[in-house]
């Protein structure tokens, strides 16, 4: 139900005072309709207009923030069903469970293991985001102590996993300032939970038995003044999870208000592969937070990678600057590798050159951020372009030799490149993973 510029204009003061930074109220209204400015920029707008405009300009799915400091997780604000329609905005948070009744040393080492679930993907660190502290003991004091211990060991956001309002109240006494997510308000406890969330200004998860039940409960907690919500439809079987997540997203985009919040799902299967799949499906389809009970990097790495892929902006390949990169303590004798400036490609090669422990130069050719074969097929990774890069980058001044290593996938370029550049061309392995072995054999 977005309003048009003219409809918004009717609600503005029409004084053209310019304090919003726009020349006229009409211009401001147009910018607002296009989503290019925000209502707060106009200091004169009436309360009544604010309400009318606020509801209409609110995003279909609220933005919810969990945590404090550097590691705030922001989820929600999604606008599409398919990533190709625009993009998915806020990567789903991955939460790892910790039981509150673990002995203190085990709890500490579990949190340390969670902190280590960080992976370098295309030159950026990608980590799990949240610790889900589970009130398995049922005791408020045990829960509060565990939550405190977790807080001291990590700067990740915390989820307070307890349906007991006393336990949540005790834990909030320790970590309210960290803005944890309270999990969860249910039909049995929502009054107390909503009051706690409101009192401490923290986000609240709401769990229904099914979609209808959830919608009812959301209306009740909203009426009590809880604002930042996270939705749990109660589904735990992956086939039902997919359907429910699809419904939440579809209905939120159709502005069904009770579902206008990000969601939380649980991957609970004891088998690791099934568990990963229970997480992977909602990761691709619409979940805001996925909770898992594992600290095995072999399980988290595929999920983090899937998340990175699904949430990549389909309009922009991630590129690195086309230039000479030095890996390790290079000398004039170091090998020279050429590749493209697609981030994924560059970081594959850089990682493998590093793994070889032979310092080396990597020259990235500007291929508009496309991979080796894509660029080759599109005429962006040609002997001419590589020769020009060799001659113009200044690499010739940095090394004493004239040997360049090219990707095995474009071996066909070698003759022409040799002729054009005057450099001796060595055809490397097809996969950069073969670089360490290749250097042992061909680079004395």
């Amino acid at each position: 139900m977005a309003l048009t510029g003219l409809e918004i204009y009717k609600l503005l003061p029409k004084t053209n005072c310019k304090e919003c930074g726009q020349p006229t109220c009409l211009a401001f209204a147009m910018q607002l309709a296009a989503g290019k400015t925000s209502l707060e920029k106009c200091p004169h707008v009436s309360e009544q207009a604010k309400e009318a405009l606020g509801a209409a300009s609110a995003p279909p799915i609220a933005l919810v923030k969990i945590g404090s400091g550097e590691r705030v997780l922001a989820i929600g604000n999604e606008t599409v069903l398919f990533r190709h329609d625009k993009r998915f905005e806020h990567p789903a948070g991955i939460a790892i469970t910790v039981a509150d009744n673990l002995p203190p040393e085990e709890l500490a080492s579990r949190v340390e293991a969670i902190n280590r679930l960080c992976f370098d993907r295309v030159g950026q660190m990608h980590c799990v985001d949240l610790v889900f502290v589970e009130n398995r003991s049922g005791e408020p004091a045990t829960f509060a102590a565990a939550v405190k211990a977790v807080k001291e060991k990590t700067n990740l956001g915390i989820i307070l996993g307890s349906e007991n309002p006393d336990a949540v109240a005790a834990a909030l006494g320790e970590v309210a300032a960290q803005r944890p997510l309270v999990y969860a308000a249910t039909a049995a406890n929502y009054e107390k939970m909503a009051a706690l969330a409101k009192q401490h200004g923290v986000p609240l998860a709401v769990r229904g038995e099914n979609l209808s039940d959830l919608a009812d409960l959301v209306n009740k907690v909203v009426a009590m003044g809880a604002k930042e919500l996270v939705l749990d439809t109660g589904a735990r079987e992956v086939n039902q999870v997919l359907a429910d997540q699809t419904q939440l997203r579809r209905q939120a985009l159709k502005r069904f208000r009770p579902f206008g919040y990000p969601s939380i799902v649980f991957a609970i299967d004891p088998d690791p592969v099934r568990r990963v799949l229970e997480a992977a499906v909602p990761l691709a389809k619409y979940a805001g937070i996925i909770v898992l009970d594992t600290v095995d990097p072999a399980e988290i790495l595929p999920l983090i990678t899937l998340r990175l892929n699904i949430y990549t902006d389909p309009q922009k390949p991630i590129a690195v600057e086309p230039k000479i990169y030095e890996i390790g303590a290079v000398t004039p004798q170091s090998p020279v590798f050429v590749t493209t400036n697609f981030s994924l490609t560059y970081f594959c090669v850089a990682g493998d050159v590093e793994a070889s422990r032979v310092p080396g130069y990597i020259l990235t050719v500007d291929t508009d951020g496309t991979s080796v074969l894509t660029a080759w097929a599109a005429g962006k990774f040609t002997p001419e372009k590589i020769a020009a890069a060799l001659n113009e980058s200044g690499i010739a001044d940095r090394v004493g030799h004239r040997k360049v290593i090219i990707p095995g996938g474009v071996a066909v370029l070698s003759g022409k490149l040799q002729e054009l550049s005057g450099w001796e061309v060595l055809v490397g392995p097809r996969e950069s993973a073969g670089i360490p072995a290749f250097l042992k054999q061909f680079w004395a």
Binding site: R121, L211, Q240, P302, D352
Partner: protein, 314 residues
């Protein structure tokens, strides 16, 4: 309050393709909705999973992958039977020996191997050439005639070499894999060219080209989603089932190759998760046939599909 379930009214559905003959025949496609949304439309056939067989012992496979095929790596017939025993819905024979840079085996020789494998298994057979377009154009028609009447799936046909391959399929009653490089318009165009040769549209399976998890899967994911929504909206030239050549992408990745490390965890577990996660994500985008290599991957993917085929409670 009762929440009304939001359902799309799709104008059309995917085509259904039948592969193989006899009791182990496989049907794919026919979906009237997006993957596994049973509340919205009929999903007559579950996605299926194939295991890959090579005509020569593969190089550079980790030991836990070759170990699954111990004793049969040099014998494609025995290997194919093992795949059937592992529960593969189909077997995908890859004719690597025909590659011109390698052994350059003749079309006749390739056809003999394919016929022997077909004879040995009851499940439908997929036959994949070496990937060199000219050579496949010579090999696959020969294979097609050696497998005449068995209703196999042959590929990959590209814009460069589809003519002879499609002619071989028409003459001998096979279906064809139409392969295009991650471009929905190119996929469509190739399907048009192939149907203009008078192959029925439901005898085509789309290979959109895929990347492994972490290596371009997002492009494949979105192309496949667009193919599926195109089919449901009534685009006949995007309605064919989609095949996912997962194994060939996954087993060359670093994640599937790197031995046990503290940062990345156990090698075998990680590699199988890589194959399973790649296949399952793309099945959820709209893939119908996943071709994988490890028998444990096969089991997990099939089990996941079985779970997803259970209807939802609304």
């Amino acid at each position: 309050m009762t929440v009304a379930i939001a359902k799309e009214r799709w104008a059309s559905r995917c085509l259904e393709t039948v592969l193989g003959t006899g009791p182990r025949q496989v049907k794919v496609g026919g979906d009237a909705t997006l993957p596994f949304l049973h509340f919205e439309g009929e999903i007559p056939n579950p996605p299926v999973v194939a295991l890959e067989v090579f005509d020569a012992p593969p190089q550079e496979w980790p030991e836990f992958l070759t170990g699954a095929y111990e004793g049969v790596l040099s014998d494609p017939v025995a290997w194919a039977k093992r795949c059937q025993d592992y529960g593969a819905d189909l077997v995908a024979l890859r004719l690597t020996r025909t590659h011109p840079d390698g052994e350059n085996a003749s079309p006749e020789e390739a056809a003999r191997v394919a016929a022997a494998v077909a004879e040995a298994v009851e499940v439908p057979l997929i036959v994949l050439g070496c990937g060199v377009e000219e050579k496949d154009a010579a090999v696959l028609p020969e294979v097609a005639s050696a497998l005449s009447g068995r209703n196999c799936l042959l590929g990959c046909a590209t814009q460069e070499n589809y003519k002879s391959i499609v002619a071989g399929c028409i003459a001998n009653g096979h279906a064809v894999i139409a392969s295009s490089p991650l471009d929905i318009n190119l996929a469509k165009q190739l399907n048009i060219l192939i149907t203009e040769m008078n192959l029925e549209p439901n005898r085509i399976v789309i290979d959109p080209s895929i990347g492994a998890l972490g290596y371009g899967i997002e492009y494949a994911y979105s192309i496949i989603e667009r193919v599926r929504t195109g089919a449901l909206m009534g685009d006949k030239m995007l309605s064919m089932p989609v095949i996912l050549l997962v194994g060939q992408e996954v087993w060359k990745t670093k994640e599937a190759k790197t031995p046990d490390t503290a940062e990345w965890g156990e090698h075998k577990k990680r590699a199988i998760l890589w194959e399973v996660t790649t296949a399952v994500s793309l099945i959820h985008a709209g893939g119908h046939i996943a071709v994988v290599r490890h028998p444990e991957s096969l089991q997990y993917i099939k089990e996941h599909i079985a779970k997803m085929m259970q209807p939802q409670k609304y």
